[in-house]
């Protein structure tokens, strides 16, 4: 790969909070004693007046945010994705999603790459959990610039929203100044033999896979789906015109992007598919490289899934 800009989504998250605090007087950030990990501390340093420490108590954290939202504040709940999606799930269901309160959830350290903290701190099912919850919007940006643009869009959107963020630097793959449209998917590469559909930072690995396959004479279409819910059904159906779809995500294939795409195509355009992602397993603590390798998320894995699907569908 040629040299590309690398950015950590969590840093962009913290910096964008500062930007938004200037634009929106009602923005508040509520932390669960993880601000120097999630990088909400960037906001705390710049705008301590907008930062509320809630301590190591995620259930109360969500309830306090709900109470603030009833007064017109726009609370951003900041914690790890694994805790937001599980530790305080009932609170999100009852006092945020059901009453449709305008609370933003920023789930840091999503997926497997959590700084070698292991399965308790990795979130492999957060997309599935929030996709299934009525009233929730679910966004998994592909890179730093998209985090920033998505956060601006989230402030203009009223309603509970989950933002899935990652810890470590990843390549910038989306246009820096493109306004983010909640519910829109983006074609990153045009092709005709097979379609890769991905979300979050896994899209950068899907693009690398497309490069690998292109070198083998395969024309690859790449659709990036940063909003898992509401899903861009039209874009997914259109992207499936190649007749073969591989989905890719740093998440379980059950109920995540792969499940969502399968649902859409099953109803609108039955298409042979392979889902790349975690196969009903939790992760473990290890450096990023070995994790991606063992759990099958590398560009090579995505490329191989595409080759397998091409082989399987060539005979018919």
């Amino acid at each position: 790969m040629t040299s590309v800009e690398m950015q950590a989504q969590r840093v962009v998250f913290g910096e964008t909070l500062v930007e938004l605090a200037d634009l929106y007087s009602d923005l508040l950030v509520l932390d669960g004693d993880l601000a120097n990990s999630t990088r909400a501390d960037i906001l705390n340093k710049a705008r301590p007046d907008r930062f509320l420490e809630m301590g190591i108590a995620e259930q109360n954290l969500v309830g306090v945010a709900a109470g603030l939202a009833t007064l017109g504040f726009v609370p951003w709940v900041s914690s790890f994705a694994a805790f937001i999606a599980s530790r305080d799930l009932d609170q999100i269901r009852v006092v945020v999603a059901q009453p449709h309160l305008n609370v933003k959830f920023a789930g840091g350290y999503s997926g497997l790459l959590t700084g070698a903290t292991g399965k308790t701190h990795q979130s492999v099912d957060d997309i599935a959990i929030f996709r299934a919850m009525p009233h929730m919007t679910v966004i998994a940006p592909g890179d730093g610039p998209e985090v920033r643009n998505a956060m601006h869009a989230m402030m203009e959107h009223v309603g509970p929203t989950y933002l899935r963020l990652t810890r470590d630097p990843s390549p910038s793959i989306t246009p820096r100044e493109r306004p983010f449209t909640i519910g829109a998917a983006y074609v990153l590469r045009e092709g005709s033999d097979i379609t890769l559909i991905s979300t979050g930072v896994q899209t950068s690995r899907a693009l690398e896979a497309a490069e690998i396959l292109s070198g083998e004479g395969i024309s690859v279409h790449v659709l990036h789906v940063p909003t898992i819910k509401p899903l861009d059904v039209d874009a997914i159906v259109a992207a499936a015109r190649t007749g073969r779809v591989v989905t890719a995500e740093d998440h379980t294939i059950i109920g995540g992007l792969g499940g969502a795409v399968a649902e859409v195509l099953g109803e609108h355009r039955p298409t042979p598919m392979v889902r790349v992602g975690l196969r009903d397993v939790f992760g473990e603590s290890a450096p990023n490289g070995p994790l991606l390798e063992k759990y099958g998320l590398t560009p090579a894995h995505v490329a191989q899934a595409a080759r397998d699907l091409l082989a399987r569908t060539a005979a018919t």
Partner: protein, 288 residues
């Protein structure tokens, strides 16, 4: 407007009558629905009448006024008592109580703020109400509003850890505009299997000490004595600056109907026609 050390005997009589009327309406609504809770609503009725008729600074014609006092029924299963008092206070027609628990009703089994005006928070999953109250109290201070936030909890739900997460943060943020009311009726739905078997009184002799240990000021009151309830609740926030207040209200589950009082089985149980008539007779309703 809050008042009340000087409340007249006449006004006290009116409030007691309202509470009795509310109990009749609660019994009728539960009988009609053949579903819902009775014990908890009846233990909370006097407090809700005191709050909505004397203590809370509210306007039923303007239920979303930014400066209104807030009330959260954390023990959301006592919703019928809250609905009844809201109806009596003029938030919606009393006749609507007959829709409780029916399809498309605004009166859901547990309070749903998205459909019924006058509800400041949706509740139902126990242990969750105090946290939004903390958020409202923090928000009031940030907005420079002097409204007070009252949260009524059941004593059973004090078993939920989140209550103490919220209690800790409330003291930490010095929320003297927040009042927790504990409906201490000593009977949860089923209770612990210690001596005496099911439905045993929930022993929480340490309940006062727990709140104090978390940095709260604690008041105790007879939750059925209107003459004490009104001033206690009205002035609960006027304690020590920077300290939230918990009011432990000693109550009787099923209060007002002799065969329901202190009987855990009446936590939630449909009434027969005969039981309904007997209950209403005890509550002063003349036979039709």
């Amino acid at each position: 407007m809050a008042v009340s050390t000087t409340m007249s005997e006449q006004r006290l009589g009116e409030l007691r009558d309202l509470a009795t009327q509310a109990r009749r309406l609660i019994v009728k609504a539960i009988h009609k629905a053949q579903a819902g809770h009775l014990g908890g609503p009846l233990s909370a009725t006097d407090m809700l009448v005191a709050l909505y008729f004397e203590v809370l600074r509210i306007d039923p014609q303007n239920p979303s006024a930014p400066g209104r006092d807030r009330f959260i029924l954390s023990k959301g299963h006592s919703s019928i008592a809250l609905y009844t008092v809201l109806a009596l206070r003029g938030y919606f027609p009393i006749e609507e109580l007959s829709t409780f628990d029916t399809i498309n009703s605004r009166l859901q089994g547990h309070p749903d703020m998205t459909v019924l005006p006058g509800l400041d928070m949706s509740t139902g999953s126990l242990g969750q109400g105090l946290s939004p109250g903390v958020g409202m109290a923090i928000g009031a201070k940030r907005r420079g509003l002097d409204f007070r936030t009252y949260v009524m909890l059941g004593d059973g739900e004090l078993q939920e850890g989140q209550v103490w997460e919220a209690a800790f943060v409330a003291a930490r943020y010095r929320l003297d505009n927040l009042v927790a009311i504990v409906d201490h009726n000593r009977l949860p739905q089923y209770s612990w299997p210690n001596a005496g078997g099911e439905g045993l009184v929930l022993h929480q002799p340490e309940v006062r000490a727990r709140w104090e240990a978390f940095g709260w000021r604690v008041l105790e009151v007879d939750g059925h004595d209107m003459a004490l309830l009104v001033p206690t609740l009205a002035h609960a926030h006027e304690g020590t600056p920077g300290v939230p207040t918990a009011v432990i209200a000693h109550t009787v589950k099923g209060k007002g109907v002799s065969f329901m009082e202190n009987q855990f089985a009446w936590h939630a149980k449909p009434l027969s026609d005969e039981q309904c008539a007997a209950a209403l007779a005890e509550l002063g309703e003349l036979p039709a």
